[in-house]
């Protein structure tokens, strides 16, 4: 099986302090990997580096065979990072927010409505995102992932602020990505339902400590 994500001795430092240090990781295409770790362990930094939102300080890496530094633009077209912030504009409606994403990625705007339907926001499609609760904003962010259908999905604490129903939605999306042979890196300090992930890796103080196949 070919590798979707390869990191070799990857270090990312902020003001001289390494958030991720000498990290080696290989994730196969179609694999779902849980990255466990407490707050500040480096999970978010790892995902941001894979998404090319941050450059490695040392070391190298590739996503779907493309170099993390040289081929950033190509990688960005194939990766979706759902981070702590939902990235929604308060003065735009839910559907306008998604159509804007479509324009940025060269996708047809018609994808927006079905994506909102999928995450249960169809009834508030024309309501401004500024009036949404945190959970609804998280759902809007999930709709972005549904719409883009990326080859590599990076989920950073996706359960944060979600109710039980929305948690199921996240896990359904991971399942669907897996069925389509897409790769998922899920960073969370909460355990997903059994059987959702193929493998678990643990981060502590910026280092990858243990690895277990589930």
């Amino acid at each position: 099986m070919s590798a979707a994500i390869v990191l070799a001795g990857l270090t990312r430092a902020f003001d001289g302090a390494a958030a991720v240090s000498h990290l080696h990781l290989s994730v196969d295409v179609g694999e779902v990997v849980l990255v466990e770790g407490s707050n500040g362990s480096g999970k978010s930094t790892l995902l941001k580096v894979v998404a090319t939102a941050l450059s490695p300080t040392f070391g190298s890496g590739s996503v779907l065979g493309a170099d993390l530094v040289r081929d950033r633009s190509w990688i960005r077209g194939r990766v979706e990072l759902l981070g702590h912030e939902p990235r929604a504009y308060a003065d735009l409606t839910a559907v306008e927010n998604l159509r804007f994403v479509c324009a940025l990625y060269g996708l047809p705007g018609a994808l927006a409505e079905p994506a909102l339907e999928r995450v249960g926001l169809a009834e508030v499609a024309t309501v401004r995102a500024g009036s949404f609760s945190r959970g609804m904003r998280q759902r809007l962010a999930l709709a972005r992932a549904v719409m883009r259908d990326p080859d590599v999905l990076l989920l950073d604490e996706p359960y944060s602020g979600l109710d039980a129903l929305a948690r199921l939605l996240v896990e359904d999306l991971v399942d669907e990505a897996r069925e389509r042979g897409h790769t998922v890196l899920l960073a969370s300090h909460e355990r997903p339902r059994p059987g959702l992930v193929h493998r678990t890796v643990r981060m502590d103080a910026g280092r990858l400590h243990e690895e277990a196949r589930t």
Partner: protein, 224 residues
């Protein structure tokens, strides 16, 4: 449509739609510009010829100071909810994002300059009827230059929260644009279209240079 024009028009339309709904700039930038003009008017006194002589400078000065706030606000909406991260991760879109932000700022500034220009005409006796089309073109060229610089450095206000650095960076750099816009406006209102056209060409050259610089540099500022 290729990536850059599509992203540019999407970002510009998004910014203008948000401004039309939120009226953030209209509610703060416009009153600021009007207050500045009135303050200048009272400071200079009732000397009508002096007011008319200085009107072009006052108009562009008030527009420039008001523009600094507009550039800051244009990026504050990007920092809420981490929207800027979405722009960063859009593939090959940095140049389009910059041009879109600059285009939206230019439209808003043009409306501001036209509105304050009418006020200046009314209060200070600026003769705007000699060459109205030329004046509108000068206004357009001037605001494009201001927007090209402000939309580049406005990004710094959300990267590392260096809001205080915006006027320090922007005001010295806009000086050539400001001088050319003032001279073109003065020439147009004093009935010298030839000289106005000359200054308009200088403005256009500044616009092209600053837009090209912003287009090339923006992606590097946006990264990391």
């Amino acid at each position: 449509m290729s990536v850059v024009p599509a992203v540019m028009s999407a970002v510009a339309a998004k910014d203008l739609r948000m401004e039309a709904r939120g009226r953030h700039a209209a509610s703060s930038v416009m009153p600021f510009a009007v207050t500045m003009l009135l303050a200048f008017g009272f400071a200079l006194g009732p000397d009508r010829p002096l007011l008319a002589q200085t009107a072009a400078g006052l108009l562009w000065l008030s527009a420039t100071f008001a523009a600094v706030d507009l550039f800051h606000r244009a990026y504050r909406t990007e920092s809420d909810d981490g929207a800027l991260g979405g722009l960063l991760l859009a593939p090959g879109a940095a140049g389009g994002v910059y041009l879109g932000k600059a285009a939206a700022a230019a439209v808003q500034l043009w409306l501001l300059v036209v509105a304050t220009g009418l006020l200046v005409a009314l209060l200070f006796g600026l003769p705007v009827t000699h060459h109205p089309l030329l004046l509108l073109m000068v206004a357009a060229a001037g605001v494009v230059g201001l927007s090209a610089i402000g939309s580049l450095f406005g990004l710094l206000t959300v990267l590392g929260r260096r809001q205080a650095a915006l006027p320090v960076l922007v005001l010295p750099l806009v000086s050539p644009v400001l001088i050319a816009a003032i001279r073109a406006t003065q020439a147009a209102v004093s009935g010298d279209p030839g000289q106005a056209a000359g200054w308009l060409s200088v403005l256009a050259a500044f616009d092209a240079a600053f837009l090209a610089l912003g287009y090339l540099v923006y992606g590097h500022l946006l990264e990391d």
